[in-house]
Amino acid sequence: MAEPGIQIIAEVRERGETETMEINMGPQHPSTHGVFRAVVELDGETVVKVVPHLGYLHRGIEKIAENRTYHQIIPLTDRLDYMAGASNNLGYCLAVEKLMGIEAPPRAQFIRVIITELSRISSHLFWAGATAHDLGAMTPFFYMVREREQILFFLEMITGARLTPSFFRIGGVAMDLPPEFHDECMKFVKAFPPRVDEYEALLTENIIWKSRTKGVGYLSAEDCIGLGVSGPMARAAGINWDLRKNQPYSSYDKFDFKAAVYNGCDAYDRYRVRMMEIRQSNEIIRQALEGVPEGDYSITMKGALKPPAGEVYMAIEAPRGELGFYIISDGTVQPFRMKIRAPTFVNLQSLAKMSEGKLFSDMVAALASVDLVLAEVDR
């Protein structure tokens, strides 16, 4: 598309008549999905160089965690990837449980799966709406938040909070499901797939959407592995790797679902991966609701929580990729060191590779397809 233009620019540049322009994008910007700053060197409309500047939301969570007890860290982890707060809680609780060598009871595991998958659907819906909004399609956003409100209502019904649940505890969950939740959620789960069909009807075969996302933000499978990219970005490049299937945790091996894998390596296929994941998550919730076992919702623990000295690394499949917690314990009530491997921090490194040499508006689409949450990048 841009080839003839680039050729003319190249000829003019050979004659020494052009110079590049450096512009600053952010940290306050409508399209950067948060406080992200990129200094972009442009040659006309073509991006020559992108230098991202991070850290505008660095809150020192890792240092704070060294000064809090293990349970006090749970609300801190909520605020990492705030679009899907429950999945951060899950990763952290599983890491501490691995450190202690305990496992949550089966009922708690199913409840955790239901809440995590609800958060995943809510996160992907918001992403799809916000990306469509960035690229000019404003309608889907207003409809997608309708379902998202319903999901947030369920999260509030169970946990008491919409966005930052802090509901999981080391060894289980905080309390049992309310009695009315099962029927309400089943109604939602049955009514949801036709709604997803509506959203896909608005975007998937839309000629403008396709021309703005097909071939945009190209990142091959080799580059994905080399750059440490995981999650929907990697699955859109054909890498069949989903931690829920390959290294299952919290009863995910009891559910029948497919990992969403496409081969396009571009923003369009990342969109298709996420839409398929929404459908698969809906299916997981349905199976979990039908098969929740009876029993305790938490292990009872006496006294203060003091894991044995040692270190573990536990990774889960968050909506954005591999979320890992590396916790070192020295036998006291506070962790000695906690490192959070944030998927978006690593995925964002690929921005330069995806955008250099391409058009500036394609850079906005590529940035949107990375699914950026700055609180996770900066911790």
Binding site: L54, G55, H58, G60, E62, K63, I64, E66, N67, K98, L99, G101, I225, G226, L227, G228, V229, S230, I239, W241, N246, Q247, G310, E311, V312, Y313, A315, E322, G324, Y326, I328, F336, R337, K339, R341, F345, V346, L348, Q349, D378, R379
Partner: protein, 152 residues
């Protein structure tokens, strides 16, 4: 669980210790052997650790060695994980960069330099990433207070 017998026989004097805890295998190695061992782990078909999950460092405060660099590796082909630990000097913690082996290490190493002060030699662009560029402290070190020293 990852079987490190082949690794130990390939690098007999570089491996200082092998530990297993809760299913995680940790290999402690000498600093000089880092690059050859990482290349071996990435390219050998029995290991294929082509995915670097995480690079970080730990400040052990009063112990020796004070600083230890930690690498987390993942192999998609064999569905295995491995942790490498490299003890560093106390006064001037430095280590070679692994950016040439796994390009993802770039930002991880910048963050470790920013927060802990560990220098990565031959890194293409070693500068701060999360804190303001003009700050000169390393907050994640144990001798730095949580609420800071009043930098702005």
């Amino acid at each position: 669980m990852t079987d490190v017998t082949k690794l130990k026989s390939a690098f007999p004097d570089a491996v200082l210790n092998v530990e297993e805890f809760r299913g995680d295998v940790t290999v402690t190695l000498k600093r000089e052997a880092l690059l050859p061992m990482c290349t071996f782990l990435r390219d050998d078909p029995d290991y294929s650790f082509r995915f670097l999950s995480d690079v970080t460092a730990v400040d052990y405060k009063d112990k020796t060695p004070r600083f230890v660099a930690v690498y987390h590796l993942l192999s998609h082909e064999h569905n295995q994980r491995l942790r490498l630990k490299v003890p560093l000097e106390d006064e001037r913690p430095e280590i070679e960069t692994v950016v040439g082996i796994w390009p993802t290490a770039n930002w991880h190493e910048r963050e470790t330099y920013d927060l802990l002060g560990v220098k990565f030699l031959n890194h293409p662009d070693l500068r701060r990433i999360l804190l303001p560029y003009h700050w000169d402290c390393h907050p994640l070190r144990k001798d730095y207070p949580l609420e800071g020293k009043g930098e702005l």
